[in-house]
């Protein structure tokens, strides 16, 4: 199995990220109200954004273009899921 170099270098950071995503997904499965589901999606988006800031700050390449890239990916994901589920 190929493990990307960036994951090998910062395994803990990626573990935190994937653990957060898994917790978010499980939380989504277990809550019943659509309001709570919506907040879980927003929370995971915010966690991913915070993770990206920390990840790139530690890597020393935190730049505006990278921040914008994360924001757009997160917005695309949230807009898409909101448009189809709610």
């Amino acid at each position: 199995m190929i493990i990307p170099k960036e994951v090998k270098q910062k395994p803990l950071e990626y573990l935190v990220l994937f653990f957060s995503l898994i917790i978010g997904f499980c939380g989504y499965l277990f809550v019943d109200s659509s309001q709570a589901k919506r907040w879980i999606i927003y929370s995971v988006g915010i966690i991913y954004f915070c993770w990206s800031l920390y990840h790139h700050y530690k890597r020393g390449d935190l730049q505006l273009s990278i921040v914008v890239e994360y924001l757009l990916i997160i917005l695309l994901g949230i807009v898409f899921i909101s448009g189809t589920l709610f």
């Binding site: 659509s34 990278i66 757009l72 994901g77």
Partner: protein
């Protein structure tokens, strides 16, 4: 020429600084705007030209009734008896939601589900309500209800003896849709369980709702009928367009990850692995909730 353009946008290489152009912020913004414009266009078309877009649904009241009893029988419970009176109250509830443009157990005017039971003269010892909308088939609707503990509690409640189902078409929030309403109850005289002398049912019995997609308007007697409408659902159109963008983006990210790992490229960009993980999270939510809306 075409190949050059294709690889420039989708394959990381020296010419695009080892980052597929489609993953760069300006193109991501373009994709976001395109998706939002598509959403607006669908909504505008749905409102401006009702009937151009619609829903394609295979749900019938008969199937909802049959599958509800099927779920009860799986749990070793007696099947519910179809009640014309409860179907009338369910239909009245659906019509009230369309008339007053809301989707909830309690109306903005303060009507509770019990208002509709009372209005048709159904005296109950226990009663409950399930709502649904935006589903295309009965299997998915029942699956969603059974996955929700509160809705399932109504379907497999031991104290219910009767059921009424209404599948009603209309416009909610400016969008054509169909609501499915299940009303459960046990007539006061038939109840073996301790009677509730209040006009309100016990609180543990009544539960929230799911919403389902649209069918042509059904009369109560249509419980045995079959109706469908072969128009394209706005939700389906939206999902198709979104999925094309979404899956395309995921494929490009996978190619990007593969090429950069293989060529050991160092770039000043966002984490491809992180993006794939986040998009996978969104995709799994999509798979889990393929249809319908749940409060």
């Amino acid at each position: 020429m075409l190949k050059k353009l294709w690889t420039h946008y989708f394959i990381p290489q020296e010419r695009n600084n080892y980052r597929a152009s489609i993953l760069k912020p300006n193109f991501l913004l373009l994709l976001l705007v395109a998706y939002l414009l598509n959403q607006s266009a669908i909504k505008t078309l749905t409102i401006a030209k009702p009937g151009v877009l619609g829903y394609s649904s295979e749900i019938t009241a008969q199937k909802v009734f049959d599958q509800t009893n099927f779920e009860r029988q799986k749990d070793g419970l007696a099947p519910l008896v179809y009640s014309d009176t409860l179907s009338k109250s369910a239909k009245a509830k659906a019509q009230d939601m369309f008339a007053n443009d809301y989707w909830a157990h309690n109306s903005p005017q303060g009507k509770t589900p019990w208002t509709f039971f009372d209005a048709v003269g159904y005296k109950y010892s226990v009663a409950g309500e399930n709502l649904a909308k935006d589903f295309y088939d009965t299997d998915s609707l029942m699956k969603a209800w059974m996955a929700s503990p509160t809705h399932k509690a109504n379907i497999v409640h031991t104290r219910y003896q009767e059921i009424g189902v209404a599948v009603v078409n209309g416009t909610l929030g400016g969008i054509k849709t169909t609501l499915v309403v299940q009303h459960f109850g046990t007539p006061l005289v038939a109840s073996v369980a301790p009677k509730n002398t209040n006009s309100k049912p016990s609180s543990d019995v009544v539960e929230p709702s799911i919403e389902v997609s649209n069918l042509p308007e059904l009369e109560t007697s249509d419980i045995l009928g079959n109706t469908s409408q072969s128009l394209i659902s706005p939700l389906t159109l939206s999902k198709i367009f979104g999925s094309v963008i979404f899956i395309g983006l995921a494929i490009v990210l996978l190619i990007d990850g593969f090429v950069t790992v293989k060529k050991n490229v160092h770039r000043m960009t966002g984490s491809t692995i992180g993006h794939i993980g986040f998009l996978l999270f969104i995709f799994l939510l999509m798979l889990y909730n393929q249809q319908g809306r749940i409060f």
